[in-house]
């Protein structure tokens, strides 16, 4: 997601060289300038600059799709639209389950069962598609050291005794759950940034962050001035990264948080 260099926007070589003398090398730099500034740095007339703006914009703008095309694409693969939670009532209210391709937040006062729910979703994601799972790996980012592998095996064995009938099956399930312990906001953000390649290489189908609130609370005391904006910055940056990953790879995200503010 690094800013695109101007030569990839099909601008002429000499124009790129001229612009780089003004420290304008990326499309981001170009689009942030006003028209008058652009006329000055490119040395071109108003109309030409407008044409250049369109050219650079074309290189950066997203592709158009109609709502109909989006619907058709979802219809082609209906089972991949949701991950069922295996709780009938909850699935009904959610219209199918946890939606793939977007962020889902689970919040409650402490002790209600959020971590238990996340552990169970991890088991479900590793199940084959025929059983309502996603047949994939899980990335579990744990900030509270609340994850218990024994509990994971216990849930799997009790919930699906027919499927996990051998130790071999249990171990293959636990092998597909990748646990990362991150204790600071910075390391959580860094971990999220590195996820793109892991998702592809490990065939990840579910990402859980347990929990967002604990790292944020530890580091940002909202009574101190200025912390509120930094905290919002961190949360917003994390959220946009996660949304990008969720949509790009069509995976559901579970983010836990207690009552924040």
């Amino acid at each position: 997601m690094a800013p695109k260099k101007l030569r990839r926007a099909r601008l002429s070589q000499e124009l790129c060289e001229r612009l780089s003398r003004y420290q304008i090398t990326t499309c981001q730099d170009f689009l942030c300038l006003s028209l008058l500034d652009l006329m000055k740095v490119t040395g071109q007339s108003y109309r030409n600059v407008q044409k250049l703006l369109c050219k650079v914009s074309l290189a950066c703008a997203p592709k158009m799709q109609t709502a109909y095309e989006m619907k058709v694409r979802r219809a082609v693969n209906p089972s991949s639209a949701f991950l069922s939670t295996s709780l009938h009532g909850l699935d009904k209210v959610l219209h199918g389950g946890v939606p793939c391709g977007s962020l889902t937040e689970i919040t409650s006062p402490p002790g209600c069962g959020k971590t238990q729910f996340c552990i169970m979703m991890s088991v479900l994601a590793t199940l084959p598609v025929s059983m309502g799972g996603l047949d994939g790996a899980v990335i579990y980012i744990d900030t509270e050291s609340a994850f218990s592998a024994e509990r994971l095996v216990e849930i799997a064995g009790n919930r699906f005794p027919a499927y996990f009938d051998s130790d071999e099956k249990l171990f293959s399930m636990t092998r597909s759950i990748y646990l990362y312990r991150e204790l600071t906001c910075g390391s959580v953000l860094k971990r999220i940034k590195s996820l793109e390649e892991e998702i592809i290489s490990k065939k990840v189908k579910l990402i859980i962050i347990d929990s967002v609130a604990s790292v944020v609370r530890k580091e940002f005391d909202t009574k101190l001035q200025g912390n509120l904006t930094e905290r919002s910055n961190f949360l917003a940056r994390g959220a946009s990264l996660l949304k990008y990953l969720a949509e790009e790879f069509s995976i559901p995200f579970n983010c836990k948080s207690e009552d924040l503010l």
């Binding site: 499309c27 942030c32 006003s34 040395g43 914009s57 074309l58 592709k63 509120l228 969720a246």
Partner: protein, 366 residues
């Protein structure tokens, strides 16, 4: 046309859209008006300033273009002129259609619905229903004229990823059913004919969706909007769902942010006017920390408040959703309640669903 060319003769160089370096050279060489340039001709110009003949010719063509567009403006040619009398404007406004929201209370406080050629901003906390209204409007703008709609198309620019196709399908299906009921009741020829082309598939095909992941993609998309709307001339609604989201993080330089937002607002006003479209922006709320208490205010600062013509604020009062018309040039400030329903005919409320499934039931199985 002696009068026009006299005015044009006197037009100083600073008003011409030439490249700055070229203009500097012309001024240094002693040129003062546009007419002087035209009289000199390309060869003379190139010798005097020391530029190539091609560059000189290009400059003269720019100057001539300006002269031509000036002349048509003073002659009052329609389309190029942006001035008219208030009476002409009144006639235009009265003939103008609105995009209805299917919530009669909301349509009432807006004066009929969402207005074309204006920017309407919807502010509110997460979950209050801003995206729902946007999706509803993207369907409603397409209602055929015989049913009281605009028969238009919609552009949906999404920065937060909140657009849910399945929900749009629900809304569109309900809208088609609503029109079918009207057609059955009235049994008119044009109603039945319109229903032939007003289907779920056609509604979805005329919502043009762009997913902008950061502010650069948003800026680029807005620069390209005029061309897109010229190619798709039936578009009557442009939605930007989440104008605040891309600008709220990674912006240390607040003055750059203000400048970019102002630029966006200006471009959107031009788009709204040139293409007779309604522009809807959704905005988040932020906490303003005051002396003794903190209040929720629309995000992006005070100067952004000037961008939209009409401002709606969606908020909660206990379990009831309320919409307040906060800013409008023609309607008075008022607040109305609204609901988000599954469909008009069934009238089931999503809130009732949420309450009926209790927590114990959910966790019994765990």
């Amino acid at each position: 046309n002696k009068g026009n060319s006299f005015l044009f003769q006197r037009k100083p160089l600073a008003c011409l859209p030439l490249a700055p370096a070229l203009r500097a050279r012309l001024v240094a060489a002693g040129f003062q008006t546009a007419q002087e340039l035209l009289d000199t001709g390309p060869c003379g110009l190139s010798k005097e300033i020391g530029i190539s003949k091609e560059e000189a010719l290009e400059a003269l063509q720019v100057v001539r273009q300006e002269c031509h567009s000036d002349a048509t403006q003073t002659a009052g040619a329609p389309g190029t002129s942006r001035k008219c009398t208030a009476l002409e404007l009144l006639e235009q406004e009265q003939a103008q259609g609105f995009i209805i929201t299917f919530c009669s209370a909301l349509d009432n406080i807006l004066g009929g619905g969402v207005q074309l050629t204006k920017i309407t901003e919807i502010c509110g906390e997460p979950g209050v229903g801003k995206t729902q209204l946007c999706m509803q409007l993207a369907v409603d703008v397409q209602i055929p004229e015989c049913f009281g709609g605009l028969a238009g198309e919609a552009v949906f620019i999404d920065t937060e990823g909140s657009f849910m196709v399945d929900r749009v399908v629900d809304v569109a299906t309900a809208c088609v059913q609503h029109c079918q009921l009207i057609a059955e009741a009235h049994q008119e020829e044009d109603h039945l004919k319109a229903l032939e082309t007003f289907s779920l598939e056609s509604i979805l095909s005329h919502i043009y969706y762009f997913r902008c992941r950061d502010y650069i993609e948003l800026l680029a998309q807005v620069y390209l909007l005029p061309d897109f709307l010229s190619e798709h001339s039936k578009v009557r609604l442009v939605v930007i769902d989440g104008i605040a989201f891309p600008f709220r993080h990674d912006f240390e330089d607040l003055s750059l942010r203000t400048r970019l937002l102002n630029g966006l607002a200006q471009q959107l006003i031009i788009v709204a006017n040139d293409h007779k479209a309604a522009v809807i922006l959704t905005n988040q709320m932020t906490t303003r920390i005051g002396q003794s208490q903190s209040t929720l205010v629309p995000a992006l600062g005070e100067s952004w408040g000037h961008a939209a013509t009409v401002r709606l604020i969606f908020h909660w009062d206990n379990n009831q959703r309320l919409a307040t018309l906060y800013k409008s040039p023609s309607q008075k400030e008022s607040t109305i309640p609204y609901h988000i329903t599954v469909s008009i005919s069934f009238k089931m409320e999503i809130q009732r669903w949420e309450q009926s499934v209790s927590c114990e039931e959910l966790f019994r199985d765990l």
